[in-house]
């Protein structure tokens, strides 16, 4: 069975960064509706910086844990906003999950999702239903930890998680924000998608596609 290596991590972040760059305008507009319009810039700049850092320091001794830690630190130092600390915390958590190893079996990859969920939750003190990115990460994490059995493949698991996240993001439309800038809007936030949930669902979509490509090629 194939593995997920430190250089795969760089590759995955390159894919994240590309997608965030592509979604930059949309995310800015969604944030403009209920926040301050900077979410596209924050996500695009943050993941670009992280991907570049991962590519730059890729050497033989780097472990997956080192890579996630690096990505988190760079994101934190590059972005600020709410996004910086939340995803930095998420990636630090992932560093612990993946640990000081050069590679993990490929079917460990879905564990990234609950790690990110827990990291964001711990830093932001939010909960599903607050109309935040947690509304995408939580259903995805739930798929990974509860609904996927070992018989179904890694890619299928990630696809299911991505679909759950997309639905979760869509569901934020009906929610009233109680965290972040949009909370100020109260009832007037209803009817708008949460930008952080949308970007989270996009990251999960990238993860599933990247894994599918990777499996096909190896």
């Amino acid at each position: 069975m194939s593995s997920f290596t430190r250089s795969d991590l760089t590759d995955l972040f390159r894919a994240f960064a590309q997608r965030m760059a592509a979604e930059r305008t949309l995310l800015g507009e969604l944030d403009g509706e209920i926040g301050d319009a900077d979410h596209g810039v924050a996500m695009a700049d943050g993941f670009e910086a992280a991907a570049r850092a991962l590519a730059n320091v890729e050497d033989e001794n780097q472990t997956l844990g080192d890579g996630f830690t690096l990505a988190g630190q760079v994101l934190l130092n590059a972005v600020g906003a709410t996004t910086g600390p939340l995803y930095a915390s998420a990636l630090t958590r992932a560093a612990t999950t993946f640990g000081p190893v050069q590679e993990v079996p490929f079917d460990h990859l879905p564990a990234l999702i609950p790690a990110i969920f827990e990291g964001v939750e711990r830093r932001g003190h939010g909960k599903p239903g607050d109309k935040t990115m947690l509304d995408a990460w939580w259903p995805a994490a739930h798929v990974v930890t509860h609904e996927s059995d070992s018989s179904s493949g890694t890619v299928e698991c990630l696809r299911a998680a991505a679909q759950a996240a997309a639905k979760g993001a869509e569901d934020t439309r009906a929610m009233m924000a109680s965290r972040g800038r949009a909370a100020r809007l109260g009832p007037r936030s209803i009817g708008h998608l949460d930008p952080g949930a949308v970007s989270a669902a996009a990251l999960l979509d990238v993860l599933a596609s990247w894994a599918a490509d990777h499996e096909r090629l190896t």
Binding site: G28, G35, G40, A42, V79, G80, A81, G84, P85, R184
Partner: protein
Amino acid sequence: MQRFINDPDDLVDETVAGFVKAHRDLVQKDPMNARVVTSRFAPQEGKVGIVTGGGSGHEPAFIGYTGRNMVDAVAVGELFSSPTAKSFADAIRAADGGAGVAVLYGNYAGDNMNVRMAKEMVTPEGIEVSTVVANDDVCSAPLTDREKRRGVAGEIFMWKIGGAKAALGGSLDEVIAVSQRAVDATRSVGVGLGPCTLPAVGHPNFQIAPGTMEVGIGHHGEPGTRVEPLKAADDVADDMLKIVLDDHDLPEGTEVVVLVSGLGATPINELYVLYDRLETGLEAAGLRVHRAFVGNYFTSLEMIGATLSVMALDDELKTLIDVECASPGMVVTG
């Protein structure tokens, strides 16, 4: 966009560069971090350091309040985005004179997280950090949820008070206590008549229909409590004052400090038209204006509109607001 910009991605860096050049008698860039501006007079051995930070696009806030007897170091974020935890940490390091650092900032999720992380970074280095979180924006949450309210232009009072207390030799606990008192004594409200545009986005991220106004608008265009037909200036002033005073039951005879700030594109004469009515209303409510500030003190790019902030004074706050200070955004002469 009819704006003076180069690459929108460079806007913040170029703003900081021009700012430290123009005001080199008062401020400088932190040699270690291009997103930190420090006072020429900081750090001062034995003085409590005063730090703040926030998103760009609010100039002269936040950088403009760096200077003598004011803020010692400011962390600079992207437009409308919290600075990074690293920038807050570097600002704390730059301000530290061995007597601890007071981080006086506004209540936004990003700032809360980044300040908390910065504190975690510098604590192992032996720097004592305490924080005060401004939440003066009345319309951002009900009074029962006061801790959810945002910080807006009233933050300037917090910096002025904290900066003066530190300059007079106050301990970290004293600086924190009196800055918190300044926040507790301050209420603000904003009224928006026109939106603003982040250059990287290229079009307004919210709309205010001509002929209407958004009462209770936030500093990034966060929608207010109500949208209503644009009224005459006197009626707007009355509404603003009512929002502030209803929330803040002040005994007759209380002395107050008032700040009327333009949001960026409102002509300055109109701020005086508002102030004229506001002072009349304050006096009718039995309050006495000890000092007033009217101008573009805390803007939101080219938003049209204005904010009102009122701080009730006690004896110490009154002494401290009068302490001489010199910063690009505010000068109080002795």
